[in-house]
Amino acid sequence: MSTLVSNLELGFSVAFTFHNLGLCFLGCLVGTLIGVLPGIGPIATITMLLPVTFGLPPVGALIMLAGIYYGAQYGGSTTAILVNIPGEVTSVVTTIDGHQMAKQGRAGAALGIAALGSFFAGCVATLMIAGLAVPLTRVALLFGPSEYAALMTAGLAFAVVLARGSILKSIAMVLLGLLLSTVGQDLETGVDRMTFGVASLSDGIDFAVLAMGLFGFAEVMRNLTVDQARDVVHAKIGRLLPSKAELRQSAGPVVRGTLLGAILGILPGNGAVLGPFASYALEKKIARDPRRFGRGAIEGVAGPESANNAGAQTSFIPLLTLGIPPNAVMALMVGAMTIHGIVPGPLVMTRNPGLFWGVIASMWLGNLMLLVINLPLIGAWVRLLKVPYRLMYPAIVIVCCVGIYSVNNLPEDVLLTAVVALFGYAATKVGFESAPLLLGFVLGRLLEENLRRAMAISRGDLAIFIHRPVSAWLLFTGLVVLVVAVLPSIRTRREQVFVEE
């Protein structure tokens, strides 16, 4: 315990210099901005800013880049709540209840609880990293391809729970998302699948394209066909922060979301994306009145937001303790460290304690700064909602187009987004929802790769999923979630049948 305190002291002494504090603030600010802007994400930004960091000492460079990363998580939630556009993969779940809250005039409460929940999660995650980094890494190493495949399958079960309406339609969208995730080059053989000869699709459909199409453009189209009601709803501004009652309601989800997100974030291979979905599924299942979810339940924002921030922080653990990046952003951090002459690996903790603990301390400071940046902005964001929609939606469309184009500099991407938008609009008209499709899409690639890898290692033996304890448990959990989700709808249909007779 005393070593923990002395290590944290070292860390804070490194992080609390004027120079590093300034870099932290800059990183967080830039991160928030790019999180708010759809399309461009932390990967592109960090890549662009890498050369800028060359003149900086390694600790300062890492602090700034890390700030960009979790700043983007905070920013992504803002657009998710305000205009139903997820800035990041992890903000998709926030759109479900967060935007409903905004439509009811409770945008301030939603933004507030997102910021507060994320801050709590950030603090807890920082403590976890400080105290439990090494044991947690050992847990992460238990996860092999079969465990991942089982985890992703369980994750797909969460998709069913996400549904507001028909379970069958939700499953259909998940399957469609899975199909869409197979577009692109097959990893094992190098052959292009379903790209129809379009070279830019060789790396798969971009998440931003689907998110902008289904959530951005389609939402604009939806709103333009119902515009009478809209101005009335936006007349109310509501409170700027969550009420005491809402805070009490959110306390449990925040804690549970933090734990879920923190654990899933450690898993290499982007386990962090599952955090928000798992948290939403959990909160919906244990809520006293699950029908509130999808209609503006604050737990549906508090839990997932805490989960995604906790996941973003704990995803640094494999990088700091093993030197192995768990996702693309961390891989960039590896590059940044390498360029500065520090090769990340298991010995960084002992060889460069100042760097290690300095980065951890700056994470907590970064979270504090983000809270300070975001809370006052809530007033400004909420007032933005009062702008008449006929002025807002061209701005949204233009920003989205620019955002998509900025990802790959390809006009085909923007066209593809338009096509997706048409589909998304038609689908919602018939009662299908977009969130399950995105979940299926995100999980599809991870599921397929790990399933095939597990099969390769086991030489085609499916029993490997049951033989390995962790994967067996995960599959069981997924099955339970699926059954529990589907059961009520079977029961009601039976009741309906009885009533009709």
């Binding site: 890498l50 190098g190 768990p326 960039l332 951090m333 290692i457």
Partner: protein, 326 residues
């Protein structure tokens, strides 16, 4: 700043022949892989040094996709005015024709070689618990039990894919080749023991070997690498035929004017002679010994020999490949 002004002054003092002197604006150096990887790091280190000599910034642009071939196609189609270069490597300009049947460029014909920057030696590494003391035992074990073993690689066309294909065909091994999306996940599963062995660039592996999370059996160099002095060479370990290096070299599109090529080549030579640059590269474990390939003509020869070599190796490897697991 002063250097830039000096260079500008010199350039302006020279009588112009109706064509402005090169370079007069920043030069794009395309890197076919994600930022932070070995090729990217080499490109940034060398590029920084060359920027100082040329008086204009060498800006790295990462174009990721299809094993680096997307970036190479883009660079091949760029205007041959010396303002777009590419840091190609053993994969994009050596093994690519063998790996990708409908490649949209020719490593020799679509590019004007400038010079090799640095090579990253290849290591043979295995999980911590692998039952072999040295390379000889390792080769014997793999030969005998290869069907039960799992070899990790970072994707079709990657360095780990092509070099281990070579290794496997040399010793006649037929392991199950497990594919990962990049070296990070592959290394992760090697550390946790899910897979048995891997062939990869030294840059990614040094910290793991030093910490003891994986075992290194041999480095494919004629002499030991200064970054890992305890790892024997493949020659010492009884497998001298396994000599391969993931070389990284600068190319310009075909048709780039000879004066531009000369300027770039001189800047590269100067960068590789600079003490600071050399130290940073050597600290990473990079190999700067192949002086012949640092000239445009030497590089052209290397590309030709590499394309031929990998065509042969990968053709024989695919014949020996085990049928996919049913």
């Amino acid at each position: 700043m002063r250097q830039t002004l000096f260079v500008l002054a010199v350039v302006l003092a020279v009588p112009l022949e109706g064509r402005a002197a090169y370079p007069e604006r920043p030069i794009t150096l395309i890197v076919p892989f994600a930022a932070g990887g070995p090729t990217d790091v080499v490109a940034r280190i060398v590029g920084e040094s060359m920027s100082r000599t040329l008086g204009q910034q060498l800006v790295v642009e990462n174009v990721v996709g299809a094993g680096g071939t997307m970036a190479s196609t883009k660079a091949a189609q760029a205007a041959p005015d010396g303002y777009t270069l590419i840091m190609g490597h053993m994969g994009t300009h050596g093994a690519a024709p063998a790996v990708y049947p409908d490649l949209k460029y020719d490593p020799a014909k679509s590019f004007q070689p400038i010079g090799m920057a640095a090579g990253t030696p290849i290591l043979i590494v295995a999980k911590k618990s692998f039952p072999a003391k040295d390379l000889k035992e390792f080769v014997a074990y793999v030969k005998k039990n290869s069907e039960k073993l799992n070899e990790a690689h970072a994707g079709v066309g990657s360095v780990s894919f092509t070099t281990c294909a070579f290794f496997n065909s040399l010793i006649g091994a037929k392991p199950t080749r497990v594919v990962y999306r990049g070296t990070g996940p592959a290394l992760n599963d090697l550390v946790s023991g899910q897979v048995d062995y891997m062939c990869d660039q030294i840059v990614n592996l040094v910290p793991q070997i030093q910490a003891g999370t994986i075992k290194a059996y041999g480095v494919a160099l004629p002499q030991r690498s200064p970054a890992l002095p305890d790892v024997p060479t493949t020659k010492e370990g009884g497998l001298p035929e396994f000599q391969v290096s993931a070389w990284n070299a600068i190319f310009a599109p075909k048709g780039t004017p000879p004066e531009v090529v000369k300027k770039l080549s001189d800047a590269l030579t100067k960068a590789l002679a600079d003490e600071n640059t050399r130290k940073r590269l050597l600290d990473l474990g990079a190999d700067l010994s192949d002086k012949a390939a640092q000239t445009p003509e030497g590089l052209a020869k290397l590309v030709d020999s590499e394309v031929a070599r990998w065509k042969k190796v990968l053709a024989s490897a695919s014949k020996d490949a085990p049928p996919p697991a049913k």
